[in-house]
């Protein structure tokens, strides 16, 4: 059973989804914000999942992410929300 503290552990690098370049892929390490975490988990952003920055809205925010190795589905979220998803 994973310890709940791993969800919000302090990571070694502070790189988050917000810092991805367009088209770049990375793997989720942990979710920083406990309240946001549950919603993100339910939407499939589980630590260990691969995400790719797919597009930005015309004014830079929100962004869309493609979740999963097989390009399973696309999520849209705000930059501030993306910043709570930390990367490996």
């Amino acid at each position: 059973m994973p310890d709940p503290s791993t969800l919000v552990s302090a990571p070694t690098t502070r790189r988050s989804v917000k810092d991805l370049k367009l088209g770049e892929s990375a793997t989720i390490c942990c979710l920083e914000d406990p309240e946001m975490a549950l919603k993100l988990l339910e939407m499939g952003c589980i630590p260990g999942t691969q995400v790719r920055l797919n597009s930005r809205a015309p004014l830079g925010c929100p962004i869309t992410l493609v979740v999963g190795e097989h390009c399973d589905y696309t999520l849209s979220l705000r930059v501030s929300e993306a910043a709570t998803i930390l990367l490996k």
Partner: protein, 728 residues
């Protein structure tokens, strides 16, 4: 059965199983099974619902809340029918929005008459991992379930192969592969649904060891049939309205005593469930071909959410929508208008008497005012349904979020605002998807400023009166532009009001945006058709009733007056007419108009006149404003009734009647200044009891509806006054 004591003397488990037996016995006797349809958003749940029930649908409310409760009857076998409840889409049983709270509370109370016999869980086969999360939660609650494996075609395209037999083994419930859009697999599903199902045989998650003492205590206190349900009591007792205050206090005490942290525990559970789902999928699913080329949806998004093309296309779509509602709908509308006028004329030439007058001037005139809306409402909802169906609405939300946030709204506010163009009542309800309270309140508050379809007839009649029917660029119409102008006026008023409220309201709650981007699809025309039919039906039977009733009341008010007064006025008018040597027709017109002015309706209008004179309105418009408060669309019906009483030519359409109206100098009464003043008044004024009622229910208090009423009506008064003063 709300208190703990009751539960112990009559254990819920026993009651539940006894009930199930009854249902099983009842089904043989022709009673309906109750089946709930659950699933993630975009898992094809509404397609499946439409396939199962066809046109046998009705929309009601869940008891106590205003969440739409869509039910339908499905003929499973020639002998057996079932009632299907279509629940709002959700990702998990831990609710984040009002819609989701309804779903979860439905599954907790065994004794509720709403409790389903079993659930059909729709999952997107191309995205099994995330979709199965909800299924495992439902299964752990002990609900008998069928898994509807939808969108098998998409899964195949993605190279995903699912071993149905193995999945069925692993999940412990029947699994049916489906393509709900095309109707593939529906027959097999119906056969399965007609069987009596037992509870699922496989569990997916056990509460963590350290939770067990607390969970067991809850379980025995409430006599629940499993640990997971008891855990949900601990998580959600605040929303469980079927529990007594004592029971909730007990749960509060217990959770505090055990230092229970819901958010952390829910996250922990979700991770544990994903781990379990991953194991299952490893045994049942193989992905043969990893498609590396960009999905077509994302390629389409490059254009449709482009910084220039994206907005250009969006405004193009809106413009097309208004052209359709104004220009294209006018042909069937004219037919309806003339049809009603023709029937009216036919009856009047062949019969006479006070009852015939009531029928033609009251009932038929009012009915005409209802029926004439149908083409516009149908077209509008056709557009909105297509935008939702194709997945384009999500893109609009995405493009607008940044802009809307600046004005204190949220990208998701665009759906209520656009739906507000159809009707503020469902629009206000659709604001429920906005999780943030402040964003939601602001959205609800400003939505009625969007021009709803009930304003269309007012706009149509008055624009037709003062804006010339000229073509622009060949195919477009100047009146179409004028109409769009009025819609934009309402939209900007909404946006700026929201901005002002953002500055006035304080909150520390954060606003969320995260949502799934649905894949672009062709609209399912059957779904679009059902939506149109449903909305038109609702309009005709809900709004129509009010309009018809008011038309009749109005006819009475306009025909009768204080005892003796009308007779006296009539004698006087005839005497004056005789001394002026008027023709018989002119005499009749004079008499009718004098009678109306002295009727009850005329008296009301006169009382109101001093207040609205600065806006350019007279007592006849005053009457219409009063009756409009029930529903705006009544305006046209009222005008039609008032002016039919004043004139003998009933074959005239409403617009011709208004155009023929003269002021005291013999000039046309509806000058541009008056018409635009009236138009602006209708853009802003809060003249809809149903909207106020909706706001009351959604905000749970009178504060917001009252503020809405005062603010909007004040805005309307001031703006109309400015317009009239500037133009005349």
């Amino acid at each position: 059965m709300t208190s703990g004591e009751d539960m112990i003397t009559d254990p819920a488990g026993v009651a539940g199983s006894a009930e199930r037996l009854q249902v099983a016995a009842g089904r043989a006797g022709g009673l309906l099974a109750r089946i709930a349809l659950v699933g993630n958003p975009n898992s094809g749940k509404s397609s499946l619902f439409n396939q199962l029930t066809g046109l046998n649908q009705k929309v009601g409310n869940f008891p106590g809340v205003t969440v739409d409760r869509k039910t339908g009857i499905s003929q499973l076998t020639p002998q057996l029918r079932a009632e299907i409840i279509d629940l709002p889409g959700t990702y998990s049983l831990y609710p984040k929005s009002l819609d989701e709270k309804v779903i979860t509370s439905l599954f907790y109370d065994h004794t509720s008459p709403q409790y389903p016999d079993f659930v059909v869980v729709t999952v997107d086969a191309s995205n099994l991992r995330r979709n199965l999360l909800l299924f495992t939660q439902l299964a752990d609650l002990g609900l008998p379930a069928i898994l509807a494996l939808n969108m098998m075609d998409t899964a195949e395209q993605h190279g995903i192969q699912i071993d149905i037999e193995a999945l069925q083994q692993e999940l412990g419930v029947p699994v049916v592969p489906l393509n709900a859009r095309k109707g593939v697999g529906i027959a097999a599903l119906k056969i399965l649904m007609s069987q009596t199902l037992g509870p699922p045989t496989v569990g997916f998650y056990e509460p963590e060891e350290d939770l067990v003492p607390m969970v067991r205590q809850i379980r025995y206190y409430f006599n629940l049939h499993n640990d997971y349900l008891a855990l949900h009591y601990a998580h959600q007792y605040r929303h469980l309205t079927f529990l007594s205050p004592d029971d909730r206090a007990y749960l509060e005490e217990l959770t505090t005593q055990y230092d229970f942290k819901p958010t952390v525990r829910q996250a922990q559970e979700t991770i544990a469930r994903y781990a379990r789902v991953n194991e299952i999928l490893l045994n049942c699913v193989t992905v043969t071909r990893t498609e590396q080329n960009e999905p077509y949806s994302n390629r389409l998004d490059k254009v449709l959410t482009h910084r220039v093309w994206g907005y250009a296309i969006f405004f193009g779509v809106l413009f097309l929508m208004f052209q359709a509602v104004f220009a294209w709908a006018s042909y069937p509308m004219e037919l309806i208008d003339q049809g009603v006028a023709w029937i009216n004329g036919l009856i009047q030439t062949n019969f006479s008497g006070p009852l015939i007058n009531l029928l033609t001037e009251g009932v038929l005139a009012g009915l005409g005012g209802v029926l004439i809306f149908i083409p516009q409402i149908a077209l509008l909802f056709a557009f909105i349904a297509v935008l939702e169906e194709t997945g384009y609405m999500a893109r609009v939300t995405f493009m607008m979020d940044r802009i809307m946030r600046r004005f204190g709204l949220n990208g998701k506010s665009i759906v209520p605002l656009i739906s507000g163009v159809a009707c503020a009542v469902p629009a206000i309800m659709s604001a429920r998807t906005i999780e943030n309270r402040k964003d939601r309140l602001i959205t609800i508050f400003v939505t009625p400023l969007m021009s709803c379809s009930a304003r269309i007839p007012v706009y149509t009649v008055l624009i037709g009166l003062v804006v010339p029917d000229e073509a622009v660029l060949g195919i477009f119409n100047l009146r179409g532009f004028a109409l769009m102008g009025l819609y934009l006026l309402g939209f900007f008023a909404a946006i700026f009001s929201a901005w002002a409220m953002k500055l006035l309201m304080r909150t520390n709650e954060r606003s969320y945006f995260i949502m799934e981007f649905p894949v672009y699809r062709w609209p399912r025309w059957k779904n679009v058709g059902i939506t149109i039919l449903e909305k038109v039906k609702t309009f005709v039977f809900q709004a129509g009733k009010v309009i018809l009733a008011i038309s009749i009341i109005l006819w009475v008010l306009a025909t009768y007056g204080p005892p003796g007064r009308l007779e006296q006025v009539e004698t006087q008018a005839r005497a004056t007419a005789a001394t002026q040597r008027l023709s018989p027709d002119e005499t009749e017109a004079r008499v009718a108009s004098e009678r109306l002015e002295n009727s009850y309706a005329g008296i009301f209008g006169h009382v109101l006149e001093p207040a609205i004179r600065p806006l350019g309105f007279d007592w006849k418009i005053g009457i219409s404003l009063i009756t409009s408060f029930a529903a705006r669309e009544v305006f046209v019906g009222t005008m039609s009734t008032i002016y039919s009483v004043g004139q003998d030519a009933n074959e005239l359409t409403v617009q011709q009647k208004l155009a023929a109206e003269k002021d005291i100098y013999g000039q046309p009464f509806f000058t541009p200044a008056r018409s635009f003043s009236l138009l602006v008044f209708y853009v802003f004024a809060m003249q809809c009891m149903s909207t106020l009622a909706a706001t009351y229910r959604e905000t749970k208090g009178w504060k917001w509806p009252m503020l809405q009423l005062v603010y909007m009506t004040g805005l309307a008064y001031v703006s109309s006054w400015i317009v009239y003063s500037l133009m005349s």
